[in-house]
Subunit: 232 residues, 2 copies
């Protein structure tokens, strides 16, 4: 944690890391709940996810306020400053992951009114892979594990590929059966939201790397084939 | 800009504001170009938008680096610190607006292969409204105009409503004509990207408000009717 010896300052930095980890844990729970609500068509669980997203918004504001105070009062330098600035960025990213999870959960209500959807297993598989990535990047962050952060960052290509496959699968169902169009559109948005959560996860990986290394992670992350109709 | 008299510091803060405005101008250009590429099915313009998005990524990194240096070397306080922290947040938001614009432009290529799409005028209308919001929030930011920032923030509800109307319109076309499903899915994503750009614009409005007022803008922003299938 650097060379400084001001213990109140150490305590502040530890508190920032702890709050980010706590917020990350809640974001992961919301994503897990959203996926279960789609899988089991549990609209009351979907409502819980929506309600708990407010807590995430509040945590974001608290972290922002505290991090700003730490900058103003302690004038952190080098890695300490990077940790505080990364916290300001990561808390916004986690808030967006919560928003996207809430958005997925809200679609459970629309989907619950429809007949069986043949694509549900694929979307849940994609969702659980996204959730695993989020979980791993949070561990990499709290364990200051740069290697693990890079590994998560590289693996996002798998999520992108699942998204492209999912897009083609859903559009095919929509073309075969007109009654699938409403539900299919919902599924396309759920897949897109998961793909975005994957992107946000790589952003956290970049921040975890930046804190430790003091340099950006680079711009050559492999991406899923962009030629398909799904695009990015 | 506060009471301090260190002129090199004033210069740093002005530079941060100028770079954010410059970056905002480029983000707005990319959005405008993306919309024109959809409207006129101009795939070479779409490619230009994609290429210029790299410049936006580079500007984000430069602003982050400079803002971090300013915090470390000048230890800004109060409104000055808020300006620097807001810049760190706004540059990420502008980078995302660029990404979403690039994503819209990429869809021009898919759409250009298809027959006439009856919904193009609606999506362009929604796009131009989103672009106007972005332009207004950037003026509010550079003019330190809190009232204008709040006005933009409140008007995002119009974008949300256009998005919901658009969603229903496109799904109706898809149901009436199966050959519209591929193009319709592209249009749904374009509409969703515009709605997200609208959300990012409100985030810039919140930051412009926070710099001047030192308090969050509040959480009671009106939102478009969430009961429709489009959701959020």
């Amino acid at each position: 944690m650097g060379e400084h010896i001001v213990s109140a300052f150490d305590h502040d930095l530890e508190k920032i890391e702890a709050r980010i980890s706590e917020m990350g844990g809640l974001a992961e729970e919301l994503l897990a709940g959203a996926l279960t609500s789609i899988e089991t068509r549990d609209t009351s669980l979907a409502e819980q996810v929506t309600a708990r997203d407010k807590k995430l918004d509040q945590m974001e504001m608290e972290i922002e306020e505290f991090a700003t105070k730490v900058i103003a009062l302690r004038a952190p330098m080098a890695q300490d400053l990077r940790l505080v600035i990364a916290a300001l960025k990561i808390c916004t990213t986690l808030e967006r992951i919560g928003d996207l999870s809430k958005n997925i959960a809200k679609r459970a209500a629309s989907i619950s009114k429809l007949g069986p959807l043949p694509t549900t297993p694929s979307i849940i598989r994609m969702g659980r892979a996204t959730q695993a990535q989020l979980s791993e990047v949070l561990s990499a962050y709290s364990g200051h594990d740069t290697k693990a952060a890079v590994a998560v960052w590289r693996k996002d290509v798998d999520i992108d590929e699942m998204y492209n496959a999912m897009f083609r699968e859903v559009v095919t169902y929509m073309m075969e059966d007109n009654r699938m169009i409403g539900a299919g559109s919902q599924l396309l948005f759920i897949a897109k939201n998961l793909e975005r959560i994957g992107d946000h996860t790589t952003h956290i990986a970049e921040m975890a790397y930046y804190i430790q290394e003091g340099a950006p992670l680079g711009d050559d992350r492999p991406k899923g084939e962009p030629v398909s109709p799904a695009i990015d």
